[in-house]
């Protein structure tokens, strides 16, 4: 079971809450202080993406965030319920709801780019019932590699 689980309505104003909760739980779990900014940013990106997918697909279900503390690692799962016909597919017109704002189209991909740039251990999966981003950080200092 997750240490802390959070479900929030797919609205932009709640993404900040998810960031704050994730950072608080990560800190308690022993994630290095220097990495907390990355945790905050990565979980924000994942939640932003989930909110966008729910909104553009008309999904009324909440976005789910599971924060799990294990012995040596801390993981965050952000799950959405936006259906994809095939893994990695994006719904047509996703996030383009503002009359084709040029910056809107690339935001989803930029969010994933930020996540993969920040987090070494990340898995992105998607299927008919939705998608899941799983990110993991060590909670003990990583050994120095020569």
């Amino acid at each position: 079971m997750a240490t802390v689980e959070l479900r929030f309505s797919a609205l932009p104003e709640h993404v900040r809450t998810a960031r704050l909760v994730a950072a608080a739980v990560a800190r308690r779990a022993g994630v290095d202080e220097a990495v907390l900014d990355e945790v905050r940013l990565a979980v924000g990106e994942a939640c932003t993406r989930a909110v966008g997918l729910h909104q553009s697909n008309g999904v009324s279900a909440p976005v789910r965030v599971a924060l799990t503390e294990d012995e040596k690692q801390f993981s965050i799962e952000v799950g959405d319920e936006a259906p994809r016909s095939a893994p990695g597919d994006r719904a047509p017109g996703a996030r383009g709801g503002e009359g084709g704002e040029p910056e809107a189209e690339s935001e989803d991909e930029m969010g994933l780019a930020v996540i993969s740039g920040l987090v070494d251990d990340v898995e992105v999966t998607a299927g008919e019932s939705g998608g899941l981003i799983r990110m993991t950080w060590p909670t003990t200092p990583a050994p120095l590699v020569p």
């Binding site: 900040r16 924000g44 932003t48 704002e101 040029p102 930029m110 780019a113 930020v114």
Partner: protein, 113 residues
């Protein structure tokens, strides 16, 4: 924590001072501000990010959109930022190559291409 925005004119540049958190919720306000400035004929913008506590890809998207708009008028969009946590986001997305990033507003205002 919300987003704070204020603008002032320095010579032919318009300085937009941004404070707080730029994320999916607040980024539309920044977008509106940039669009409004460009519509009003301010094509040389300096976005001062020294007061920004948090920036995500939505914020980056708005800045890229702003750059696109000013460039359509042969303008410029320069950033002022010294915060490592914010600069890191520009680096991992490769946007340090897209935006001129300065260490002070004075430097950004004085800069020419």
């Amino acid at each position: 924590m919300d987003l704070s925005l204020s603008t002032r004119t320095v010579g032919d540049r318009t300085v937009v001072e941004v404070g707080g958190e730029i994320d999916v919720y607040t980024a539309p306000k920044l977008r509106e501000q940039l669009v409004e400035l460009v519509n009003d004929g301010s094509f040389h913008l300096v976005v001062d990010m020294e007061g920004v506590d948090f920036l995500d890809s939505t914020g980056l998207g708005v800045l890229v959109g702003g750059l696109k708009r000013v460039r359509a008028h042969e303008g410029s969009l320069r950033l002022v930022c010294n915060q490592e946590r914010i600069l890191k986001i520009f680096r991992i997305t490769g946007l340090t190559k897209v935006f001129p990033i300065h260490t002070s507003v004075e430097e950004a205002v004085a800069a020419t291409d």
